[in-house]
Symmetry: D3
Subunit: 265 residues, 6 copies
């Protein structure tokens, strides 16, 4: 019941919620109760990486998963929880309580229409905790408001950058120089998506090692150029194309399982 009508690959246009009309969404819901929500962040990615890395990559992966699975993709939430990066110019961060409210409202809006499988494709580690908290709060609200499908509502968080094959490929390509922020794997994906970013690539000195994340001043003191153990100069656009394919394959598979989960009927 909750699998989309056309399991074969569709066009990206066909799955963008932004390009659909409401009667088309109403019809879609007769076939499939699943929806993908891309979640990014707008934050520094080292001296050569793009500030939009997490949103650009999350949206690209989400659209590719949508295209392959026929599941609708909402527009991206481009601002995420990036408090610890606020020491670097250009970072825009929602406080955890704000991001929690955003995701809560997005899930509740979708649930109201009858969506029952909310699949959040995330591009930023800093969003994970708040997203999980938001899911719990959304479940509570759905029940408190008496939404018809409250019992059938399920949310799942899928981080493209921790998908098994992605991690494996990154380790093989970059070894220890993958690091933990402004990693070559995510930078590679942005090079694939936005060729103009190539111009920023240049060799960098050894990065500060990754460490635990505390406040923004502490973060900048310990990671003066914003990198956490990574060497983004290793990134290449063709790697990025490969990462996109690996991530989309893994997440499309996970989404299929999520849609097929038995429910209370």
């Amino acid at each position: 019941m909750t699998t989309p009508a056309s399991p074969d690959t569709a066009s990206t246009e066909a799955v963008r919620l932004q390009l659909r009309s409401w009667p088309e969404v109403e019809a879609y819901l007769q076939q499939c109760r699943g929806v993908i929500v891309p979640l990014g962040s707008t934050e520094q990615h080292g001296p050569t990486g793009a500030i939009g890395t997490d949103a650009l990559t999350a949206e690209a992966v989400a659209l590719e998963v949508g295209r392959r699975s026929g599941v609708l993709v909402t527009p991206a939430q481009n601002f995420g929880m990036a408090e610890h990066h606020l020491g670097f110019a250009g970072t825009v961060s929602l406080q955890p309580s704000t991001l929690l409210a955003v995701l809560h409202d997005v899930v509740l809006s979708l649930a109201r229409h009858g969506f029952e499988r909310i699949f959040v494709i995330n591009g930023h580690g800093g969003n994970i905790a708040t997203t999980r908290a938001a899911f719990a709060q959304a479940h509570a609200s759905a029940a408190a408001r008496g939404l018809p499908g409250a019992e059938r509502l399920r949310c799942r968080l899928a981080n493209w950058f921790t998908a098994g094959p992605v991690l494996q490929e990154a380790r093989q390509l970059y070894g220890d120089r993958e690091g933990h922020h402004a990693t070559p794997s995510e930078i590679a994906l942005t090079l694939h998506l936005e060729p103009s970013l190539e111009a920023k690539q240049r060799p960098l000195p050894d990065p500060a090692p990754a460490g635990p994340i505390h406040g923004p001043e502490d973060f900048r003191r310990r990671h003066p150029d914003g990198r956490m153990g990574s060497d983004p100069f290793l990134a290449r656009a063709d790697h990025g194309a490969r990462f996109l394919d690996l991530a989309a394959t893994a997440l499309a598979e996970e989404l299929r399982g999520f849609l097929a989960e038995e429910g209370p009927g």
Copy 2:
């Protein structure tokens, strides 16, 4: 001091904050303290209009204003306040208190880096009230937190769809059939931006007249297909290109004045 380095037109890539690195933003701030924030919504736009209309158009206008003025453009906030459209499938709405928190956090993040002129280009009437409220709250927080530039911080809301030349052109092209939601002018701009949307265009029966906006059930009862007095079938892609130019011209002019406003020094 607050005018950008290159008043001449730049490429869109050059002004997208998402494609900049943090050192580039730091350098930019030496030249210009202004930034553009596109604000959209994800909501029904009648039986033939795209759900992403307000976000797609706000972002397109913002990027064009940025390109012409050399002022940085953040990624769009794609979800806005659309409570009254929640009766139509696909609408995603942030509660007013949530959107208020989002815009507050975005402004505070930018102010922390030294941005002093926040220019929000908005595509949705339903966002106006909450955005203004958020500006007042942001001013209070900036002072309470002791941000260095708190006294110099200024925010402005610019709705592309109410710019004088846009209203004039819409009246001339569509007269009364412009209406108030899912208007031919905004639909035209989406046709220019996303040609695949042409396929949805078809003649529609006379729309329900526009009326005051209350709750979502009331809205749907009175506007059964989502339109408020509009005839979106009149929209054409070439009109859209014209609206984009008119809006960008008007808002770029307004932005220039905003950046040039004298400050406390």
Copy 3:
């Protein structure tokens, strides 16, 4: 169904909710589902104007509209959103999020009893955005809480100072010297209501021109005596009596239309 029993003028006492008992309100609701809520502010009004101007005028207009229409009037919310006036002694401001909560709770309380037409008569421009946001939030809550009349609930904001005949009269009397804050029209109304205020009237130097509103420090720097382009010395008590009549006439007419609006039955 939603028009009051006695469309003819009543006494002010008869329409003040504060002077009614609960069984009287219960009986009233059999006849009329409308109610007026005066919304003011407590903020500086230039070197000679009264800090209570916005609340005094909003309440006076509300009671006069109530008297003429027989519609109940709640007590005034005397504190509004006046963050930008906090640089001047005596100003008391609710943060936007607080005022939003107040109006939300007031509307929900009234809706619970069966009121379906909430008519907010406002005396302060700074309240407009937050009030509109509060209405949207109240509609969402009414539905979420399952209030019986949620679908029939409607809220309207009516600013007495922007009623057509009021603006026209002010322009005729004061021309450009009406200005935008501490205007002679509102000061005139306070002179009519509180004769002791005459003693403060005196000629003032040319005011600072009106400009966009940002934070309180910026506001005071640009409007050192609190006025925005206005010459309140032009105000006279007899003008005030005239403004009261014009505003009440216009708003009573608007209220009648609001009560007569067809509903979902």
Copy 4:
């Protein structure tokens, strides 16, 4: 330092903040750092009592205390915490969290101008808990925001209806029939203030006894006409005049002590 300039009685007009200009408040602060805030409620007061009883009485007592002491009086906060009375038509209640925010913002606004002794004269038992909570929150915020006078800020709650001489007089006049809600003493004061209320007075059956307060449905079930053990028919306008004098005498004395409290210098 914190006693007002003119300890002798002034006119009511002279102490109403609403009728002052900001330079007058600035001058006042050179003489006195105290201010009175009347806090009421809008809620059922039995089958014959006025819904505005708590706000009308709090404001009247506050103005009389102000007149006698020369201390400024803000306008009343007319809506209070009356959740348990929501089962009776006409009651308007702020949720505790909302009233907390209102009082927080009012105190913080006043503290910003240099007021250091906030004296809240309250007319409703249901407000007490939330007001005390708000004071604690305001102290925390004043310090967090770095307000210059944060260490000297003090807030006090004074309930006119529990002042010693008031309780004594009520006991003497009404004995057990004073009760706990819609009491003859508060009704008497409203009869003194608003003669038109006399028309509602009539003998009533024995009231339901007072009990603990839980939710609104429980309250109405146990107090079907809204009274808690009281016989408001005993109230007389001349009693009310006496209560006003007793309350004002007692609270003016308390206020004097509050203003004279030694501070951190």
Copy 5:
């Protein structure tokens, strides 16, 4: 219906919710709808008193009341509202709005399972206001969420330290030297519960007199060692045993009455 199965004394283990399984709680609810919630605080108690005094005593009294009455006791909420003690090292305080949310959520959780008599045994005066506010908010939410037992839900706050026999005994033992914070009575109870605390006891200079409570800096300035008029050196462990018995007797009696209160059936 709402009295527990075994009115005779049980073991402490038997009434600790923490040591029950969910089927045991389900069975218990067939017999009794009452539950005890201990509420403490973590705050300075003078130079010789334990920081955990309020939580340790509240929990001990709660368990003893539970043991005697057979009513379940939840674990203690150990952090309370202690903003005014934050000037002393070791104090941990929840803001009033936070504690309000905690108690709201605790009551709502219990009400969801069918508990209808929530008996909060409190050890800290600073919690009283916020707890009462939380009860009002919880009643509103229970109704808004449509909880089946919303109308039957009742909450009561019982402060062990103000129970009549406790106050009487303290007066007899310590007279004026009982004071208002870090009192010998509460210290005595901690000596009974935690013998290791004896080692801290020592004669102290005359304490600062109790006064009204404002912000933390003001509090510390006026009460430099944290005591308010108390002489905790008078406390003895055997007094503490006596206070525990007196408090438990009084509160068990009050609880019995609370459980036996007639309800809406």
Copy 6:
């Protein structure tokens, strides 16, 4: 600088913040800036497990880590985020936004006194996301409030049940029957701590397999007796003693490293 004075084992009494006076804490802060906060939950643990399992175990591990390291231990926060267990009687849950506020306030209180290393020992997986979000929010507030040590503040979450040696031992003892909720390892620890719990132990049918966690109704439908793939009948008290030792050893080691982390000086 941030290591405690007595690295050797102390008594449990010596490290309980509840049993310290404020001057003792002040003295402690001269030696060590670290503090342990136990975080539990109050929620169903299958048909035979104790509802207090997560709080009892977190507090026991915390006290043992404190005893071995000499670092102070605050009282436990006994209520956590357990929304998904609310379908089972006895579960008490704080909403994510509430728990976020609690942990935020606890961290801010401690930071105000000069604590710079906040080590949260957690007993419940459902708390993890919200705790991480709270840390980010606390860092932002510490900076916004201008706390002197804001830049040096660090928070760490340590889950005793995922410590390496604990996981290893559980796998060895129970293999797949460890499961994911109401696990034999945590039940074993409660048997060690509270011998009366032995009486509940009994063989159980095969548990429902663990699955993703959504709303409470969904959870109960899929895990009808509350277990997620676990066989708590395998638990023995002596296992529990071993788990306590393993967890304390691992976490004390982690704490030592945390305290020794270089800071901004």
